[in-house]
């Protein structure tokens, strides 16, 4: 049985730098690659900041050595993350050190989008921008300027645009993301849940997660709270056509038919009312409209819902009872992006109504009242009155009256520019963002840009949208600048600072400075009276009895959580609901006044024909929207997306795992990518991670990797809000 050892074989096995012991290869140990030599590193210090890698804004401590940011750590005092930093946050260093960054002002030389640029000075850039802005203003009026932002740094751009006199400032957060959810809660309870949702996750005992993929569409503080609850035994029912990582942590996964969440929720409401499972005391004291609601949902039986959404009637009844049994420590958890169907408002309303029936408002394990930390804004002249209505119709009676006029409808703004209706929009100023990849209509974006007299884009990195700019202004990254204050409303109120960890690496300027200097050229200096962003925030802090110097020593100042104010109903105190009636309105009065109460009723959605699939997309824990795919560290974790397809569907098309496939919608829009054949998705649905398929060659890491979901998602709209119904695309898949 014995065999002699073959030395050549041993050498082969001992490859990859492994140690050889007595001529035999080890399996684990290796020689240290670099000789041990004491490194003479300079001392380090830390500065405080808040993250800009996603929109949750975790508190950070940036370690700085020799004038360079070298490590990002979490600030344990910050309620948004309690010291934790995710992969995206850690990779924030590469947002600054990205070799593809925009490094100096650029003037377009060839056709728009052709990629031919000339370096110019900041002064020349400002002069050209000011000349173009003033000329168009004189010809078309101030409303001819549209400002589209997407990030923390957009605040000064809003101020600049409002000082210019235009009402047309917008950000995708409403029309392309959370709008329907926030409007629904506002209509029902007068209390939108905000960007950092006011949910008492840690103490919740039962979660009904409506596609809220909390472990992958990841925000540290939120995920921590949810994980704590699950670790303590909270039950999770996860509803999604796809088996996500969140589904894997749930007690139960319900693979609902896409676009039918509203049917499921309406049946839950019906059962809850029919079986009197709701919080009778809360409903009697705090709500209006139960009887009308009962009449409206009478037709939505669990059996009807089963036909529509594919979830068994007996399960719908059971879940309604389980929710009620755990209330008020129970939550129907809305998806964060609720822009999927042509009646997302109805879905949002149903979620808000269910939470109301469960009596979770101001109860532990439910929805809490946040504390704020008021820091007054500086004293500025009032903005000039804008005579023209918003071009996107947001907040405009007769157009989209329910849409948020602060953030607007970015999708509608692009259409308004493309069509030049209701009036000419000839100037575009963008601050971050990427219209191609965060909207759903490449054609509309191209047509819109084609209509412009002048397009100026400010950003830290190249992308598909800003490659069409006439002048491209390079911004300092969030590690290289001050920004305006972060004021938060969690259980604790807080104010946090973003300090520069290093001087700008390139010829870049911070957003506030760019806007102040442009304002000076445009005769709008009165709205930017401070010498710097640091002076601005110092003045604001002094009005609140603080100072920048004080805040810089700890990064954050907090007002302690106050259980009596966070959860007044736990302490015998009344809840406040700032609706027109002062009550929680189960059939919102504003909706009725606008004749839009049909949003409460079910609106059937599209269904695939033979060979078609519902098209879905979503987030992954390593990337934020379409803005991090070029980050070298994050691209290491996930460099391209794949098309999730069920094996039964794949085998019908002869598709095997890893094959390249073409995905085409009914409008002949097409994308190609590799197939991921998996049982973790319904057979009638395909999925891809959002944000890939970049086609700007300046993005050398991400260019050409994966497919753009934005080029396949639906362009339909929610009929009540004007938000995008992205989930209504039906696609076919073909092996290449």
């Amino acid at each position: 049985m014995s065999k002699t050892t073959d030395p050549s074989r041993r050498r082969f096995l001992g490859g990859a730098g492994l140690l050889a012991v007595g001529g035999y290869p080890a399996r684990a140990l290796a020689r240290v690659k670099a000789p041990h030599a004491a490194e003479m590193l300079g001392p380090s210090r830390e500065v405080f900041s808040f993250c800009d890698m996603c929109y949750w804004r975790c508190g950070l401590k940036i370690r700085v050595r020799d004038g360079r940011a070298v490590k990002i750590e979490g600030n344990p005092e910050h309620p948004n993350n309690r010291g934790v930093v995710c992969a995206k946050g850690n990779a924030g260093l590469m947002a600054a050190y990205d070799p593809d960054r925009l490094k100096f002002p650029l003037l377009r030389m060839g056709e728009r989008g052709a990629g031919k640029w000339k370096r110019i000075s900041w002064d020349e850039a400002y002069d050209r921008i000011a000349a173009a802005f003033l000329k168009a203003k004189e010809q078309y009026g101030p409303e001819t300027l549209a400002m589209i932002g997407h990030g923390t740094w957009e605040k000064p751009y809003h101020r600049l645009a409002h000082a210019f006199g235009t009402p047309n400032t917008t950000s995708p957060v409403f029309g392309l993301c959370c709008g329907p959810r926030d409007v629904a809660n506002q209509l029902v309870a007068g209390r939108p849940l905000g960007g950092n949702e006011t949910l008492d996750l840690e103490n919740c005992r039962y979660f009904l997660m409506m596609g809220r993929n909390i472990t992958e569409s990841l925000h540290n503080g939120e995920t921590l709270g949810w994980v704590e609850a699950v670790a303590k035994g909270a039950q999770v029912v996860y509803v999604d056509p796809r088996y996500t990582i969140t589904a894997s942590k749930a007690k139960e996964w319900l693979p609902i038919r896409p676009l039918t969440d509203h049917a499921f929720l309406l049946a839950l409401i019906r059962v809850m009312i029919e079986e009197r499972l709701y919080d009778t005391e809360f409903v009697a004291a705090y709500t209006l409209g139960l009887e009308e609601l009962e009449r409206r949902v009478a037709r939505y039986t669990p059996e009807w819902a089963e036909e529509e959404c594919g979830i068994a009637a007996k399960d719908i009844r059971r879940i309604a009872r389980e929710l009620a049994a755990h209330a008020p420590a129970a939550l129907v958890y809305s998806p964060r992006r609720l822009t999927r169907t042509s009646n997302d408002l109805g879905t949002g309303l149903a979620i808000s109504i269910l939470n109301t029936l469960l009596g979770v408002w101001d109860r532990e394990g439910g929805i809490f009242s946040p504390l704020s930390f008021p820091v007054p804004e500086p004293d500025l002249p009032p903005f000039p009155h804008a005579d023209a209505p918003r071009a996107d119709g947001a907040g405009v009676e007769g157009v989209w009256p329910l849409a948020n006029a602060q953030y607007g409808l970015t999708n509608q703004m692009w259409s308004a520019i493309a069509e030049q209706k209701p009036y000419p929009i000839k100037l575009l100023l963008t601050a971050g963002g990427n219209g191609f990849m965060n909207s759903t209509d490449f054609d509309a974006i191209r047509r819109a840009i084609g209509q412009l007299d002048f397009f100026v884009a400010a950003d830290i990195a190249p992308n598909e949208m800003n490659q069409y700019a006439d002048i491209l202004l390079p911004e300092a990254s969030y590690l290289e600048r001050y920004d305006d204050l972060q004021t938060g409303g969690a259980k604790e109120g807080f104010v946090a600072v973003r300090m520069p960890a290093m001087k700008p690496l390139h010829d870049t300027r911070d957003a506030w400075t760019i806007c102040k200097q442009l304002a000076g050229r445009l005769g709008l200096g009165a709205w930017f009276p401070h010498a710097s962003a640091a002076e601005l925030i110092d003045e604001r802090l002094k009005k609140a009895g603080l100072s920048l110097a004080e805040l810089e020593t700890k990064g954050i100042v907090k007002k302690p959580a106050d259980p009596a104010r966070n959860f007044p109903r736990e302490h015998g105190l009344p809840s406040v609901f700032p609706t027109p009636s002062g009550k929680v309105e189960l059939v919102p009065s504003r909706l009725k006044a606008l004749g839009m109460d049909d949003a409460l009723d079910y609106l059937p959605q599209v269904r695939p024909q033979d060979g078609e699939f519902h098209f879905t997309f979503g987030r992954v824990g390593f990337h934020t929207h379409a803005r991090t795919q070029n980050n070298p560290w994050l691209a290491d974790l996930m460099g391209e997306n794949e098309l999730w397809i069920h094996p039964d569907a794949a085998s019908r098309q002869g598709i095997r795992d890893g094959d390249r496939v073409e995905v085409a919608d009914r409008n002949s829009r097409k994308e190609t990518l590799r197939a991921k054949v998996t049982r973790r998705i319904r057979p009638d649905t395909v999925f891809m991670v959002h944000g890939f398929g970049h086609f700007d060659p300046r993005m050398r890491t991400a260019h050409g990797k994966g497919a753009a979901d934005a080029n396949l998602a639906s362009r339909d709209r929610d009929g009540h809000l004007g938000t995008v119904a992205m989930g209504r695309s039906l696609v076919r898949v073909r092996k290449l």
């Binding site: 049985m1 014995s2 065999k3 002699t4 050892t5 073959d6 074989r9 041993r10 082969f12 096995l13 990859a16 730098g17 492994l18 140690l19 012991v21 007595g22 035999y24 290869p25 080890a26 399996r27 684990a28 140990l29 290796a30 020689r31 240290v32 000789p35 041990h36």
Partner: protein, 208 residues
Amino acid sequence: MAEHDIRMKLHLLCAGLFAEPEAEHLEHVLRPLAAELGQTDGPWQEGVRALPFPEGGRETAQLGLEYNRLFVLAKGHVPVQPYGGYWLDGKSTLYGPSLRTVERIMAAEGLEPAQASGLAPDHVVCELELMAHLASQGGKKAPLEKTLLFNHLARWTPDFCRAVMENTREEFYCAAAKLLEETVARDEARLAAHMGRTAGDADEEEQA
């Protein structure tokens, strides 16, 4: 065969038995090592000869499943933790203070776990390979051997081996655990007799 050579080979064999089963390594390194030791007279002979090496790919694959079940994958907990720190620093601790002892010895020798191995320094494979490496130097590294043995291997591998024997469904791992238990016990007796010192002394030495 010289005593230090036998000790080196025994530790290397034991390390390999608890590494992730790989057909090439089993066939071309471990089996010949075992054969060589099995032909050498000594108290280890019986244990080495009793090792039931897998025959063919299917048996190796089966062993791989058992390896994953025992040491890697877990639903709730790993049946047998292969990290010394778990046994030495309290059973909820990985990367605990005891890890530093092993790290220091490795650093003194210019060694570290290969990045591709994905293992921490106090993994049973790393510690045994480190011991093999020290033994291969013919007694020149006796103080380090003693520190590693008395502060680490002798303190946790008996519990580890018992856990393997209680949890495994494969005769291979049962025999491997028995061989490791006997090897460490013999080493402990030998080093204590030769150097006349105890584990407590090793602690002091390390602290100094």
